[in-house]
């Protein structure tokens, strides 16, 4: 098959990326870990068939009796069970899907807000820029987790579901970073000749922003977003650990650890109940941060040709 001339640069680029990834064992490891998690998330209904109307509710095993203590790993429960005989394997598998769902929702929202506001601030400048930047200053003046915790506490006062409050609060602490990033990128490219050329040929502001500026800023957004995947899950897990998050018995890694916290006093006796979900979190965050570094190496012009 003859590949048209037009696609040659793209093919060359893909080959370059693949070679870069192949040369670095850490990038390869990151890609493999993330790929494994994506497969788990997609095939969760097959890997662990749901047993109730809400697949994120972890089923408990009545054959083990209603004793409180976790049961060790067995053929029926490869990861063992935790409090009230909730199946850890099920929890970790569906927890993966849950982590992706939260991270995707949060990152889609923060990136969208960041693109719109960052673009407006950077392109038009002036008073709008000043107001938006001072607003991001204020939000960034708080350590993220603490502001999120405050918003969750306040929203539950007016009977919001905790999980919705958590999502909103993580979006609230996430958007200023993207807004600033995109604003900086817009400032970098907006005085380039090709923008001037586009304007001279009569392109509208919207067209210049989305057709000419955005494609030039998107790489840094992709890098930061991939690093953020782990960050969002870490923040959610920290909130869950404080009891602010998914309800008890939910397939949320942080919540499973929170539910198993009483068994830590047994030392290593019930190790599986808190170690296994913990390892899932660590691997997930690790995978995304390695992948983010790998993406930086291939996408960021400052790093790539070294």
């Amino acid at each position: 098959m003859k590949i048209p001339e037009k696609y040659q640069p793209t093919i060359k680029e893909i080959k370059f990326i693949l070679r870069k990834v192949k040369d670095s064992p850490l990038s390869l490891a990151g890609t493999a870990i993330v790929a494994a998690f994506i497969i788990i998330a997609i095939f969760a209904p097959i890997l662990a068939p749901p047993q109730s109307y809400d697949p994120y509710i972890i089923p408990s095993d009545p054959t083990l009796g209603y004793k409180l203590e976790p049961s060790p790993p067995s053929p029926r429960h490869p990861f063992g069970t935790t409090r009230l005989q909730l199946d850890l394997y099920y929890g970790c598998i569906w927890g993966t899907r849950w982590a992706f769902q939260i991270a995707l929702e949060v990152i889609t929202a923060t990136v969208a807000i960041g693109i719109i506001l960052g673009m407006i601030a950077g392109y038009y400048g002036g008073i709008i820029d000043e107001i938006l930047m001072r607003f991001t200053d204020i939000i960034l003046a708080f350590p993220g987790l603490i502001l999120a915790m405050t918003l969750v506490t306040v929203l539950t006062q007016i009977n919001w579901k905790t999980i919705d409050a958590v999502l909103l609060s993580i979006i609230l602490i996430g958007w200023p970073g993207y807004t600033r990033l995109i604003r900086g990128e817009v400032l970098r490219v907006k005085n380039e000749d090709f923008i001037e050329a586009a304007r001279a040929s009569g392109a509208s502001d919207l067209r210049i922003m989305f057709r000419h500026i955005l494609p030039n800023t998107i790489y840094s957004v992709i890098i930061v977003a991939s690093l953020d995947f782990g960050g969002v899950v870490l923040t959610t897990a920290a909130l869950s650990f404080l009891g602010l998050g998914a309800p008890a018995g939910y397939a949320d890694w942080g919540r499973i650890i929170y539910d198993s916290i009483g068994f830590v006093s047994g030392g290593l006796r019930w190790w599986w109940s808190w170690t296994i979900p913990g390892v899932f979190i660590v691997l997930f965050v690790l995978g995304w941060s390695l992948l983010g570094d790998a993406l930086r190496d291939v996408l960021d012009p400052l790093y790539r040709r070294k």
Partner: protein
């Protein structure tokens, strides 16, 4: 521009941010209905008050007035140190904060120097021994440090060292010693000079208390160090690598200086300049880390206090803690900026 003018300008720039922090928290609190919000102004427990008393307070603090008047009254209350009443802890918010601050200060006092020393030492050495085993080891550890949730690391340590090996326990002191403390105070054999247990123990000549308090600090400090050092190592490493590639290093080598002199006298000093800016970030990391760490080890500091309040949806405490940490964070960044300008004249002159 002189250093003095630079500092003054930075402080003036801070005022809108500090005010913004208060406005943001005020705006968030607006979603809570006035009958619940009034607790942010009270100094006594609303549970023990009659409904008409509460209504009188709502009127007194202007909760039936337009928003800007409410804000002015609230700001006035904050300036006078009234942060409201904590229903869960049954005490005014400020009292709670002040009572728990020493425990936190004690952790930070031990953790901060270790973070800075270890972080810079490891970063510089990783750069000097680039691509050698030390570099790889510090990289693996710093990747783990950023990927490991602090609560999970804390749980791991407490399962091993507290529950299994029984080397130490939760809290600030062993229960027996803690219980004796009030007796000792009553007998006049214990004076609270600083409220920092390790220092007070030494001043009171109680080695047993000193060792016990120190043992209780080891695990929380370890967690804080582990999760906060990683970024520092990374930045110190890349900054040192950059410094080592500068022409003045080649000049120093050409002069025939020893490797040691080149690294520690010429390269390291310049490499440390960007590292200073990171200290602000570390303060932020500490404020967050303390919430988790103190909760895991049941260490009675302000982080544990805020986390417990959040679990029981005690709004005044959480709001106060948020404002408190934002102010500390902003002040830390101010100090960092000033230090930076002091070390590097290019900043204030540029």
């Amino acid at each position: 521009m002189g250093l003095k003018e630079y500092i003054i300008r930075r402080i003036i720039l801070l005022i809108p941010v500090a005010l913004g922090v208060v406005v943001l928290i005020f705006a968030l609190l607006q979603v809570v209905p006035p009958e619940r919000r009034v607790i942010l102004y009270l100094t006594g427990n609303p549970r023990e008050m009659k409904p008409e008393t509460i209504r009188a307070y709502i009127h007194q603090y202007g909760l039936d007035q337009p928003v800007w008047i409410q804000f002015a009254i609230w700001l006035d209350q904050l300036i006078h140190g009234n942060f409201g009443f904590s229903e869960y802890f049954g005490e005014p918010v400020l009292d709670g904060l002040l009572a728990r601050a020493p425990a936190t200060i004690e952790i930070v006092l031990y953790a901060a120097p270790i973070i800075i020393l270890v972080g810079i030492w490891a970063g510089i050495n990783a750069a000097v021994h680039r691509d050698k085993p030390f570099d790889h080891a510090s990289r693996v550890l710093s990747v783990l440090g950023t990927s490991m949730p602090s609560f999970f690391f804390g749980i791991l340590l407490s399962a091993i060292f507290i529950a299994t090996l029984k080397w130490t326990g939760p809290g600030r002191l062993t229960f027996r010693l803690d219980a004796q403390l009030s007796t000792l105070r009553g007998l006049g054999q214990w004076h609270d000079y600083t409220k920092l247990l390790t220092i007070d123990a030494l001043l009171n000549g109680r080695i047993d208390y000193f060792i016990d308090a120190l043992k209780h600090l080891v695990l929380p400090v370890t967690v804080l160090v582990f999760i906060n050092t990683a970024t520092l190592v990374r930045v110190a490493r890349s900054s040192m690598l950059e410094a080592l590639s500068k022409t003045y290093i080649i000049a120093a080598r050409a002069k025939g200086l020893s490797q040691k002199e080149v690294i520690y006298k010429h390269a390291r000093r310049n490499a440390l300049i960007p590292v200073v800016t990171l200290s602000g970030l570390i303060v932020g990391g500490m404020l967050t880390g303390l919430i988790i760490t103190e909760t895991v080890f049941l260490f009675p500091g302000i982080g544990h206090w805020a986390a417990t309040a959040a679990q029981h949806f005690d709004v005044p405490v959480v709001a106060a803690y948020a404002m408190f940490s934002a102010v500390i964070f902003v002040l830390a960044n101010l100090i960092v900026d000033v230090l930076y300008a002091y070390i590097d004249p290019r900043i204030r002159l540029g």
